[in-house]
């Protein structure tokens, strides 16, 4: 029944203390029937990998508003790639300039949601990648 629903980690990395967006996303995912794990503020990219591994999640959503997304998401994608965790999908949301989206995708991000994205789009995408 519900127990098989997808597990999703919502993470914040680097020096970024703004988690209102993450909380909105988590509430929405919970209401959509997902099991959502939150790892809290100011994790390192490697700590996010550790949490994603211990929790056996299918996707990690990183909310980032600090402007350092290219550097930190680059590190995050490298950690996942170097530790054979590429099966875990990475999606990014927050304040991401249009011009950086291609760059993030090239780094290994599976999907970028801009601040104008409707939360329903996030759900649709997660349902698309959900494995049984």
């Amino acid at each position: 029944m519900h127990d098989n629903r997808m597990r999703v980690l919502v993470a914040k990395i680097g020096l970024d203390g703004h988690d209102r967006g993450a909380k909105i996303l988590m509430s929405y995912l919970k209401d959509a029937g997902f099991h959502v794990i939150y790892s809290g503020l100011r994790n390192t990219p490697f700590q996010v990998l550790e949490t994603a591994t211990q929790e056996d999640v299918q996707a990690v959503g990183v909310s980032i508003l600090s402007g350092s997304h290219l550097e930190l998401i680059g590190q995050l994608c490298a950690e996942f790639k170097n530790n054979s965790a590429s099966e875990i999908k990475i999606f990014v949301g927050g304040i991401i300039p249009e011009a950086d989206i291609e760059h993030l995708l090239a780094l290994g991000v599976d999907r970028v949601f801009s601040s104008e994205t409707s939360l329903a789009d996030v759900i649709d995408w997660l349902k698309l990648i959900e494995r049984p």
Binding site: M1, L29, D31, A32, H35, I37, Y38, G40, Q47, D56
Partner: protein, 242 residues
Amino acid sequence: MKPVKNQLTDHYHLAKHISTILKIADQSDLDRSPESLRLIGFTGNSGAGKSTLIGKIANELVSKNIKVAILLIDPTSVDTGGTLLGDRIRLDPLLPSKGVYIRSLSTGSNQGNLPRNLNRILAVLAENKFEFVLIETIGIGQAEAEIRSYVDTLIVLPAIDVGDSLQYYKTNVFELCDVIFVNKSDLRLEALHSHTKRYLEEFISVKTWISRIAPQVVFGSAKTGEGVEELISIITRVGSES
């Protein structure tokens, strides 16, 4: 301590194994928890400090070279089937690198307050040579009677802003637990704590008189670590099983 990369691989396999167990539709659980594990349950109201205390205790145990796993249980919404598992944010983010395996578990469709097949999960942790498992319940309510049957030591973090001692007599958990940890001494709640102390002293003396056994009361702060040493000495005492 193992190199971090090896630990990551171990935790990867363990995590996959637990996921498989959670998917077993068959509700038949093993009858008993594995003998080799020391199981400690934590219960108390939302915000009482369960996760913070678990994090402190885990760090203390790790410093004694004890292999620790943590299970954090949160309730699945009856309406939507979703769960928000938010207990990890209270824990030291360095614990995984120190070898502590941490898993958030939803109660799921199980008709209770514990995830299904909990004993099977504990058996896997025992196979992986974990020595202590710290289990956080969904909080106070009806959960404590269920967790009681699993754990060696049950620690409850009570509400301290209660009007009189009768609150402690009414609530079943105070009859079931081994330790009452009165938390948040760092918040300068002297007045509240002195009331709580008086109420609990009365409750414990009545309990002892009636049934000859009563929980131990420890005052302290999960945040500053006050009282944690006393808890460690209680939970590591050999043969403390009740």
